[in-house]
Symmetry: C2
Subunit: 469 residues, 2 copies
């Protein structure tokens, strides 16, 4: 563990740093809204001294050179939609804000790639490529996240079951290293066995090893047909038990989402909109995508048969009308915010477990809710074993909630370890999940990670205190 | 660059090392066949002092502990089918031979994974999973390679166009670190944002950071229908120009292979078997896979129309009979060996370039062949930009060939850099390609790689002199 004595940002620093960005666009001290000291979940906070809006790689490079020489910590921020404090400047210093570095630079149809700046939003990528017949598959719930943030957390999303995660869709990245050097990791190529995979190391490193200033994304031809099945089950157990059976049926779904009635009721209230069905205890939402109806049909019909004949499903609703699609997907998209709105404060757990362990794991969270007399709603990417579990403060005092939270998290991550899971499926480690990762992976792996951090960032200038110390 | 003074293996070492493996199974000094000092291509050679056959992770761990303490270099060897000297013990010392650590441990149908030991051969994996309806997609040409070797080079193969490379099919690996510690990187899970991706770093590290002792591979449901189109073109230029157009047509092929008439003629001679057609200068072989005929048909018919109507193809042969499939795929599988058999000695280049640059790159190799008055046959994964180019010694003397080789390689890798490519698409860097990687990636990236090597293997005990010094 490295201890660096960071310097505070002085008036001289501010004067110089302003000259490094276009039109001197920056905010200083109390000009910076409190929100920029937090992320979406807000459980970690810090106080940035200066926030610089960058528009060019060269600006990022100059800032890093200066910060590295003057031992001023730097944190990069996109949309700030993270949940583990990764973009929070816990040691103060500089925020490099990439929100305005947001141009789509090139669609290369011969190489099936899209080159973007880091501040481009996920939804802007879909809007750009889909009308042209292309497909960027990763679909994390938060569509207003930046692609830079998505790459930095190796964001996942629902379609991971079939298409993988952000890592699988990044051909190359331009990176500014902590000392200001600018390097391309990867190229506009499909295969790469050229030495240690520095690009892979950068993906998911949460802004601690380098700053992504351009990304070349992989595209696919867009699947033109899509259909979802909403499958209600009498009990939560039956719903969850169905997931591995659907996988075994080899029907190749794009997504398998699981949710309980309660979560839907929160979403209905939050949105003021009705969900197609709320009579059952649990639901599975299956999605299929393909190039044509024939390809789809064989898969989803088989899935429906399996659910009805073998898995005791109450019914199978085909989500094919625009109205139904809207109702289902709006609700699914609102789960996180709906749960957030249902309580005074909450914290979250993003474990990933083998798909075969999901039912057991969710049952375990029910036991915890009972044991600690606290509300623990959850929903999750059942198809890929990634669960989002929320511990709700409700009417408890801060002290009691904090105590319960610590005990519950300890039990949850111990259980994840026991069943062969990991601490984070897609939200990352950031600041909030460090102790749990250390406990799950053990000292040897943490030391390797610390060694890697030291190699890339010997002064620990870039996003210090995140992932490893 | 680190200089380590390695120790020679003494009689005392041999006595102790023998006790570490089952039945003391090892070979010492001249008992070790010369072949074990080389790989498949044989351009790099070394002299191992002892070769130990391991069967258990604990054996590998004990050997590493001892070697690390006694500063004896260790190289891991599977089938030895590499082409860049990665498995060659250039500093002597110990070979850990994993060929007998070759059990398939578990097929997990709920999690769609296969757990194997590192010495399992690629063809054994296919033979095991395919009759059960599962699919392991990576298909490097050399099916007698071990899975440990495949993971260590991040091997690619023809189906990379649609399904990606080995990296995309590894869920987790058990690794023995250079100091003997045993760690699992990754888990039997689909998503992972839990700290720096140590699993990713290990994949493609060519046995320099740790030794893979188990692997959990991802499986998919097996596509049950498959069809190939063999498309002849009048000129090489027309054949190559067709590739980006086929990509643009969004027909989602599994593979797009390119080859010239000469390569086919070598294969015919080597195999003593006729290829369906040898009248044209160049050929493209397109493969489509899907769950049913309807899914296939729409794609391959569109591809055929594009080839005939827009790309000036002479004809489109459908490779659907068993006889034709056998003739085409046997030939394709024999290209490397056929070219090897056609000359006295050869060396190879495995560049990967953007798909749009393939035609230019191949043309450039023709110019080189003329300029240096030497034979340079090639074939390649046109669909993913990965070319295999062979420089044939034929009747030249060793001295003249060496000189030409150096000059040609310099020009080839400079050209790859110029067009945005990389040194290796799938064969790796090993020993043979180090200077070209250094030149292409530059000092900053090499220093990062050296730093990573030092973190994992501070004594440079494991496969020293490979990838980085």
């Amino acid at each position: 563990m490295k201890k660096v004595k960071y310097n505070k940002v002085t008036l001289k620093d501010i004067k110089y740093l302003k000259t490094l960005v276009e039109d001197g666009e920056c905010l200083v001290g109390d000009e910076i809204l409190e929100d920029f000291g937090k992320d979406e979940l807000g459980t970690v906070s810090g106080k940035p001294e200066i926030m610089l809006y960058v528009k060019k790689t060269s600006e990022v490079s100059s800032i890093m050179k200066y910060a590295n020489q003057h031992l001023i910590p730097v944190v990069v921020r996109g949309s700030g939609t993270g949940l583990v404090g990764a973009c929070v400047p816990i040691y103060g210093g500089i925020i490099i804000n990439t929100a305005k570095m947001n141009k789509i630079l090139e669609l290369d149809e011969a190489n099936l790639t899209l080159t973007v700046e880091p501040g481009v939003l996920l939804m802007e990528i879909y809007d750009y490529v889909e009308p042209k017949g292309y497909f960027y598959a990763p679909d994390p719930g938060e569509k207003s996240a930046t692609i830079g943030g998505n790459i930095s957390t190796n964001a996942g999303g629902m379609r991971a079951v079939k298409y993988g995660v952000t890592r699988d869709w990044v051909r190359a990245i331009e990176v500014v290293l902590p000392n200001g050097d600018v390097e391309w990791f990867g190229r506009k190529v499909v295969k790469d066995s050229t030495g240690y995979p520095l690009k892979q190391l950068m993906i998911g490193s949460e802004g601690t090893l380098g700053i992504i200033t351009k990304a070349i994304l992989k595209l696919d031809p867009k699947p033109v047909e899509s259909i979802s099945l909403l499958v209600p089950f009498k009990t939560v157990q039956e719903g969850l038990d169905a997931v591995p059976e659907i996988i075994k049926a080899k029907v190749n779904p794009t997504a398998i989402e699981f949710f309980e009635r309660n979560t839907i009721l929160f979403a209905e209230e939050f949105l003021g909109k009705k969900f197609p069905d709320t009579k059952s205890d649990s639901y599975i939402l299956l999605t299929f995508e393909g190039k044509n109806k024939a390809e789809l049909a064989s898969n989803y019909q088989l899935a429906a048969d399996v659910c009805l004949d073998k898995l005791n499903a109450i019914d199978v609703f085909i989500v094919d009308t625009e109205e139904r699609k809207e109702a289902v997907w709006k609700a699914r998209g609102a789960f996180l915010e709906a749960i957030k709105a249902s309580t005074t404060r909450m914290d979250e757990c993003d474990v990933v477990v083998p798909r075969s362990e999901i039912a057991n794991y969710i049952k375990f969270t029910y036991e915890l809710a009972k044991k600690y007399a606290i509300r623990i709603p959850s929903f999750g990417h059942a198809g890929d074993g990634n669960l989002h579990i929320y511990i709700c403060k409700d009417e408890y005092s801060d002290e009691i909630f904090e105590k319960k939270l610590q005990d519950i998290f300890k039990e949850m991550y111990d259980k994840a370890k026991e069943v062969g899971g990991l601490v984070s499926g897609e939200h990352g480690i950031g600041y909030a999940k460090k102790p749990y990762m250390e406990n799950l992976l053990g000292e040897t792996q943490i030391k390797l990670m610390q060694g890697i951090k030291d190699v890339f960032d010997p002064n620990h200038i870039l996003n210090p205190g995140k992932i490893v110390d």
